[in-house]
Subunit: 193 residues, 2 copies
């Protein structure tokens, strides 16, 4: 009953893999159903056998981006792990953001953040708020950063020098500084409750 079919065609993971390749090459603006179909040497309509619509396909891409492995159990480490995942793919933050908002994606990092906040002494409800606050910050910050990269590419000879100062160096510092403020606030909220 597990006999290999006569002609091996595409399955869901193959479609997602093709989408990841297109994303790496052309970013989110280039990630059209037609480009993905081309990558598989297939008609566009074939994709709709595997996924009901583009958003569902993007949700599968998002799941690939954020991964399913384990996440560090400290708050700042978990936040940075999420950020690194997003940064590892072009427009990663934007894709994940929309899948998340549509309720089509589970975030392993969020689960880890809730646990860490609880361990720090927050009530269950406060831990959820803290986790969401940090997730919003990470995604918002990284989204903004990745879109600036786009703008910089478009306006090559632009005065965008001061917008993207020394590339990764300073930005990582700012991200960490902001994150530290939030984490401090979360810990401070234990005293209040």
């Amino acid at each position: 009953m597990n006999a290999a079919p006569a002609s091996a065609r595409n399955d869901k993971p193959a479609v997602v893999a093709a989408a990841m390749r297109v994303l790496a090459e052309s970013g989110l603006p280039g990630l059209s159903m037609r480009r993905i179909a081309d990558e598989l040497d297939v008609q566009v309509s074939a994709l709709y056998w595997h996924f009901p619509n583009k958003q569902a396909l993007l949700a599968a891409v998002s799941a690939q981006i954020v991964g399913s492995g384990s996440v560090p159990d400290e708050m700042d480490a978990a936040a940075r792990a999420l950020r690194d995942r997003l940064l590892a793919h072009q427009d990663g933050a934007e894709i994940v953001s929309s899948s998340l908002a549509l309720g089509l994606l589970e975030l392993p990092a969020r689960t880890a953040l809730v646990a860490a906040a609880r361990q720090a002494g927050l009530t269950d409800a406060a831990a959820e708020v803290a986790a969401d606050t940090i997730v919003h910050y990470v995604i918002g910050y990284t989204f903004h950063e990745q879109q600036r990269l786009h703008a910089a590419v478009v306006g090559a000879a632009d005065a965008s020098v001061d917008l993207v100062p020394d590339a990764a160096g300073e930005r990582r510092g700012d991200f960490d500084a902001g994150l530290a403020m939030i984490v401090a606030g979360v810990q401070a909220s234990v005293a209040v409750s």
Copy 2:
């Protein structure tokens, strides 16, 4: 020299006003150049006399959304004022987010936040980080919230009951709770520096 022209045609503010009407009626997905042109009884190509491209038009819409008036000078009040502006327009957070990331928009609330953070005792650099952290949180949170509204409209008979619990009530509380954590963290960072 200020004589009224024979036939009064459209100017930039009129185009922006038309775009705001379309946005109110159909949201960001419906905000196409063609729909805006229709609203003005004009050909699409006419819009390109007023704006070089759609992003520039969206930046003008964003400026209208965030306003130019004065902003409360306390940190949490300034953050809530920004949030209220975004919530007052369909997909306000998404539109503003992309204009901001592209460097096409000034945020009055950000200026107020920097000033408030400085007054709280932060260094100039730390005050900028604090302001950006809060702005990212506000936009990220509101973006997420507004996209859920979309999803709820699309899946009317859905099990989206637990995703949008009691509408505004609980959400406002969660937003404020998260904001309070960040503000506490910002104030805590004064001791460190």
